[in-house]
Symmetry: none
Subunit: 123 residues, 10 copies
Amino acid sequence: MLPLTMTTKPSKQLETFPNPRPGRDYVIQFDIPEFTCLCPKTGQPDFATFRVQYVPTERCIELKSLKLYMWSFRDEGHFHEDVTNRILDDLVTAAAPKWMELVGDFYVRGGIKTIVTVTHGKR
Amino acid sequence: MLPLTMTTKPSKQLETFPNPRPGRDYVIQFDIPEFTCLCPKTGQPDFATFRVQYVPTERCIELKSLKLYMWSFRDEGHFHEDVTNRILDDLVTAAAPKWMELVGDFYVRGGIKTIVTVTHGKR
Amino acid sequence: MLPLTMTTKPSKQLETFPNPRPGRDYVIQFDIPEFTCLCPKTGQPDFATFRVQYVPTERCIELKSLKLYMWSFRDEGHFHEDVTNRILDDLVTAAAPKWMELVGDFYVRGGIKTIVTVTHGKR
Amino acid sequence: MLPLTMTTKPSKQLETFPNPRPGRDYVIQFDIPEFTCLCPKTGQPDFATFRVQYVPTERCIELKSLKLYMWSFRDEGHFHEDVTNRILDDLVTAAAPKWMELVGDFYVRGGIKTIVTVTHGKR
Amino acid sequence: MLPLTMTTKPSKQLETFPNPRPGRDYVIQFDIPEFTCLCPKTGQPDFATFRVQYVPTERCIELKSLKLYMWSFRDEGHFHEDVTNRILDDLVTAAAPKWMELVGDFYVRGGIKTIVTVTHGKR
Amino acid sequence: MLPLTMTTKPSKQLETFPNPRPGRDYVIQFDIPEFTCLCPKTGQPDFATFRVQYVPTERCIELKSLKLYMWSFRDEGHFHEDVTNRILDDLVTAAAPKWMELVGDFYVRGGIKTIVTVTHGKR
Amino acid sequence: MLPLTMTTKPSKQLETFPNPRPGRDYVIQFDIPEFTCLCPKTGQPDFATFRVQYVPTERCIELKSLKLYMWSFRDEGHFHEDVTNRILDDLVTAAAPKWMELVGDFYVRGGIKTIVTVTHGKR
Amino acid sequence: MLPLTMTTKPSKQLETFPNPRPGRDYVIQFDIPEFTCLCPKTGQPDFATFRVQYVPTERCIELKSLKLYMWSFRDEGHFHEDVTNRILDDLVTAAAPKWMELVGDFYVRGGIKTIVTVTHGKR
Amino acid sequence: MLPLTMTTKPSKQLETFPNPRPGRDYVIQFDIPEFTCLCPKTGQPDFATFRVQYVPTERCIELKSLKLYMWSFRDEGHFHEDVTNRILDDLVTAAAPKWMELVGDFYVRGGIKTIVTVTHGKR
Amino acid sequence: MLPLTMTTKPSKQLETFPNPRPGRDYVIQFDIPEFTCLCPKTGQPDFATFRVQYVPTERCIELKSLKLYMWSFRDEGHFHEDVTNRILDDLVTAAAPKWMELVGDFYVRGGIKTIVTVTHGKR
């Protein structure tokens, strides 16, 4: 194990930038296969793949801050349903999209696979 | 065969937790490939894969209790149609979802494969 | 060739059991890859795969009697269209479903493959 | 080459039998991969696969006569469009179906593949 | 290289024959993977696959003349959009179909693949 | 839950019958997707799919006794490696094959999937 | 049916041309999906796909004569095994290849599909 | 490394040519797998695949100028959302299409894949 | 975020149990899709899937301790090549297998996917 | 049809450049889907896809000259076997590879598809 030099840090702070075409309805999609948090009951790691799709209004979600935001759950305990809703809420708060869909696809636990799909607004 | 130390037990008691976003319509899906019960006519084992999809209202189904609940059928005798309906009823009673669909996909018996699809409420 | 001891017998008698949830609209599907009868013109064996889907009302079709029922055609001569309609009629008579679809998918005869799809009621 | 003993003969005579369930709307499908006729311009062989789908009224098309009927084109010259329409017409004349669709899928000629789709009545 | 004996010749003359069933709406499809012309800017060869679908009225397109017609572009310079529209126009002029769709699928040029889809009439 | 009438019983007794062609080297394969036992540490159910391949000498394994044998592990606690080796040993003891391979493919536990492959003799 | 003008004729005469590179070992493959002959017992049509692969010595098989040769079986009665061997023999006689493999893949007859593979020489 | 002789140059100048069939509604599609620009934050290369679909009015986009136009982004820094919108705007300004859709499919960055879909007008 | 109750803990301590069949050469395979550690240069999370295959001698690797062992890398910084070799070393030290192969399949970093395959002993 | 300005010309002159690593055995592959020549018997166009694989010695084949070389066959008449051997010979003469394989995959002619595989040297 090497000594760690952490040049970037996980952060709950989602950054946005001005939508380059605020008057146009268009769709931005992020596929995020690298997500891990902890089970709040056992403290054991959970893993998931997330997919975001949204139609921006005034602001777009900045990619690097999204990565650091997803990373920020690494040492936190969350139920599947809760963390999926919370991420949607945070993304909606940050970017106020016209429409957003978030799918959380979790790895098998206790022989059961869980997929949570949450939506904000209308497309 | 080793002496058994049973640290968890099967249970018909489904546990729930408060829906983290009660006002939002969203979908939770569980894929459950590990289910076995007994044929009520012959006592021989039956195997099935179940898939649950539901829109919660006030309560969500807790994953570990769902695992123990599915386990609880292991030594019971049930017809395919009956056990699928019963599981739906128990899940509905426990979580009172707005909508729920349950698909029971049973292994071949007598050269015939059976798939039972039951629904509660409207999506 | 060993001496045959027949412990179960083919039978046209379809058995049913009470629908465990008579007030609920739900779908039961049987996939039956093992069916053989005889060609009424040549006496040669015909083979088919059947798929039943139905919404029960008061009664459900019992799986073992369905197996023995399908077996009962083994030494009988039937045209493809006729036997598919007859099986649907017998299943409808036995279980009075709200809706039933039966697909008979027959093996190649004379270089031609035949698929017969019959329906009772509305889904 | 062996001396030929022809026990069956090609025939334009399509035979039918009474629809076993005349009051029921249902679909009969034939897949016919073995068809050959001659090019009316060059006399060279053409090959095609045909697919018939129909809803019968009073009569059903008898399978063996259909095979002999398809065979009867073997030594005749036909354009792709003509033979597909003619087969539909003959099948309609013989069985008076409520609805029938015929697809003729011909092998490559001159580097070009031809598919002809003809329909009678409404489904 | 052998001395060439050209027994057939490319030709812009599309031939037709009387539609064998003029009163019936049906679809004829041609798949034409062998097409080449020249780039009008560089003189270099272009390659494409064409697919024609049409509903004939009084006349059908004759297959061999279609082959010679497609061949006739071999030594001509055409832009992708232009040649696709021109072929549709010529086919429409020759056969006056009720509806026709032509798809020209061109090979990669400058790292870019071009697909042009043109339509005449309504299906 | 219905009262159970058990007409057949699980059994560790594997039955065999005389190999109909003892002098010929040939391969028999069984695919067994329905296997469940218990985890000896937690008492929780484990699930696996087994595949047997063997070259018989004097005796062949009887199919129904194999089913009852696999069933006999249902209420016993076994590690994955142990139960796979034990099943191979029992099958070898019963049938003395020239060669046998057994693959045990277990469901995910703790996020890890286990596959155990054991062999007896040479093919 | 149109009056036939046969401009080419089927022929058992296989033509060859000088191998353009007689000293080089290389492989020529023909895929021939259009073959039909008659069943010598019933006179009914049989259909097959043939694949030829060979290493030429002094002569190569001419493509058009191969087409006419395959056509020449159209009105002859042959068993599957016989016609496959005969075609190999004729091709070997005509071209004297160093190695040749012929695969005849016949359509289903009596519910059974037949594939015959014959070889001449060593590759 | 060889000395570079640049015979063509990247250019923001999109060229068009007159639509060969201005009164006809038809669709032109470009698949552009070769696109690279720079990340405006880090200066590192980004890669994407673009797909353009449009219905032209008076002008069509010239293929080579499109290639040089896509090339012109090679040494520029752009956010994914911005460059996709800008390319759409430039294409719309150059050709004034009735309808245009542009999909930018970017490679993984920070473990996240981004897809941006923008549209102009109605199809 | 819920307060964490950690009932199990990550651990570098690999546990083993006696090989149930020490004299038999057989293969045990573990597929481990859930692995994450940190990049030693940036401190950012890395993700990988590991596959272990080994032939045991006296000891077998216990599944739950393997899970906790893989978990123990979660907060450590490691290069891809290093961590793959280290895991192999630890597994070899713990179980002294006759042969072991470890494949580490890492997610894309800097647009590059890394797969590291290390082996101990001979199979 | 536009007036043609031919900026590049087809050419039988294959150009090469020095192999950057003459002492190393490595494989270069070209896939060439755009090839057309004429049938020497009928003058009609033939189409093929070519695949070259080779291990260079002192010289490598220059890509643009290969394109112009393949183009140079466009107006020449060649048999399939001959043109495939000739292209191999020309490539071997130009680059003197240690090993080269050339596969010519020709479009269907007379219902028959031809694939010619020629090799030079040993790999």
